[in-house]
């Protein structure tokens, strides 16, 4: 009888709290959005499942959760903590960038280099939010990690947090991926607000064809320039461009294939799951609750949304500004794609423009600021790393 009581004590039922139940419901909602609404399912589904797993309570002392490491006093590093190490050490994001590089075609950017500026303008959101986070009392390191959410790039956000503010990694990662998934809901209202009907109907002429040589030179040029300007961006940009070179060289197809499939998928599953599992609702360290369900997380979510909005806003505004000087006007909508969130925000632009002129295909044009946005936010992350480390 005594034994049965002891076993019941070890079950999760005995330790279940309301906050855990709330988080489990949140996890289920993420899975629902992934499957039914098809919002970034490759990320939201494992994250949602991770949230459920991470919020099942267990007796203190069992090495199960992502925070149960020998360093934290557990008798053994738990399996989930070993997976989570791939996140906190910062190694998963660059490997994911390697795979993304092996899948991305930068032709659009090469054929219209001026679109790069739109990718730069959207990063204004990062720095404005950094200021906002400082105002709310976050430290420099924390503020930078929160601001980067506006870069709309999950791996970049996670990488920066892992380097500057590992204790905020959970909410920042969740916020970044959530807003990326919600791009089709967040961006259109801002696009409507910022553009006139006439602007939305601007057609752009087809880009020139890009030669194989340019595609091969591109990753080499980008890595040298970006890393000289912001060496802190080297892990991300270096891997992104290595992957792209493997793809474009034409002589390393099998490496590009593995980088863009098995390696990318493995890192995606493990990173997303571990990030999800790191969102324990309540977690005490030295008597202080540093869990996920705290006002701090709410602040981060609010600032993240702000960051996203300002980034979209900045891209649109700068596109209109560029049109003052350009002979061949660009459609300002493609400025919204500067946030990155590849390729979702480019698709949103395409979809939005076709509502007003169904033969106006902006997808290819929007891809240029879109991929420039990836490079831009990696550089922004590099700047923060250089200053705050």
């Amino acid at each position: 009888m005594d034994m049965i009581l002891r076993i019941i004590e070890t079950t999760g039922f005995a330790n279940l709290q309301w906050s855990n139940i709330i988080m489990i419901v949140v996890g289920c909602i993420a899975i629902y959005l992934a499957i039914v609404k098809n919002y970034e399912p490759l990320l939201l589904l494992p994250i949602g499942f991770g949230v459920i797993v991470g919020n099942i309570p267990y007796l203190q002392g069992l090495p199960i959760g992502v925070y149960d490491t020998v360093a934290n006093g557990a008798p053994q590093n738990s399996v989930f903590s070993l997976i989570y190490w791939g996140v906190t050490s910062g190694i998963f994001p660059p490997l994911i960038f390697l795979g993304i590089g092996a899948l991305t075609d930068f032709s659009s950017l090469i054929s219209s280099p001026k679109s790069v500026l739109l990718g730069a303008a959207a990063q204004v959101g990062i720095f404005v939010t950094y200021l906002g986070a400082l105002m709310l009392g976050f430290t420099n390191q924390e503020a930078a990690s929160i601001g980067i959410i506006g870069g709309a790039d999950g791996p970049t956000s996670i990488f920066l947090s892992s380097q500057l503010a590992p204790h905020l990694l959970g909410p920042i990662a969740i916020a970044a991926y959530s807003y990326m998934a919600l791009v089709p809901l967040i961006q259109p209202p801002i696009m409507k607000l910022m553009t006139t009907l006439k602007e939305r109907k601007i057609r752009m002429k087809p880009s020139r064809r890009v030669s194989k040589r340019e595609k091969i030179l591109f990753p080499i040029i980008v890595v040298i320039v970006a890393a000289l300007i912001a060496p802190g961006s080297l892990p991300l940009i270096g891997m992104l461009m290595l992957g792209n070179l493997l793809k474009e060289s034409g002589v390393t197809d099998r490496l590009a294939k593995t980088a863009g499939n098995a390696l990318l998928d493995t890192c995606t599953i493990l990173l997303s799951f571990a990030v999800g599992a790191s969102t324990q609702a309540v977690r005490y360290v030295d008597g202080v609750n540093v869990g996920f369900l705290t006002p701090r997380s709410l602040g981060i979510f609010f600032l993240g949304l702000l960051s996203f909005g300002i980034a979209t806003f900045g891209g649109l505004l700068f596109a209109k500004f560029m049109n003052l000087f350009l002979k061949d006007k660009i459609n300002p909508l493609i400025g919204a794609a500067g946030v990155s969130a590849v390729p979702d925000s480019a698709r949103v632009v395409q979809h939005f423009a076709r509502k007003y002129d169904k033969d106006n295909h902006l997808l290819f044009h929007a891809m240029a600021p879109n991929v420039a946005g990836v490079i831009g936010s990696a550089i922004a992350a590099g700047v923060f790393i250089a200053i705050f480390r």
Partner: protein, 115 residues
């Protein structure tokens, strides 16, 4: 209200950050642009020849045969290599991805059109 910002030198950092991002990306854009210019100039002579050779070769093959060949090559590629599951798909007049058979086919056609 701005205390924490000023204390942390926030405005300076934000401004210089934006500056670095802009100058970095501008430098990349400029370098690419320059390279493009250089190669265009270098190639003007080289492409002159091919312009006279390639079209004839291409013209000799009827378009429907070309299409058939393309399909055959595409199936061959799909069977013999695994395709990269591309996350990014471009809808564009003439497809540019080397992973699609439209590439070579499109190039030939475009040469025809430009005549």
């Amino acid at each position: 209200m701005f205390e924490n910002i000023i204390q942390n030198n926030g405005f300076n950092i934000a401004l210089s950050g934006i500056l670095v991002v802009f100058s970095g990306l501008t430098l990349i854009a400029t370098t690419i642009h320059l390279f493009n210019k250089v190669f265009e100039r270098l190639h003007r002579g080289a492409t002159a020849e091919s312009d006279t050779v390639l079209p004839k070769k291409a013209a000799a093959i009827p378009e429907d045969v070309l299409a058939a060949i393309t399909v055959a090559i595409e199936i061959y590629r799909k069977i013999h290599f695994e395709t990269l599951q591309s996350q990014i798909t471009f809808i564009h007049g003439e497809q540019q991805s080397a992973w699609k058979s439209g590439y070579k086919y499109g190039q030939r056609l475009s040469t025809l059109r430009k005549q």
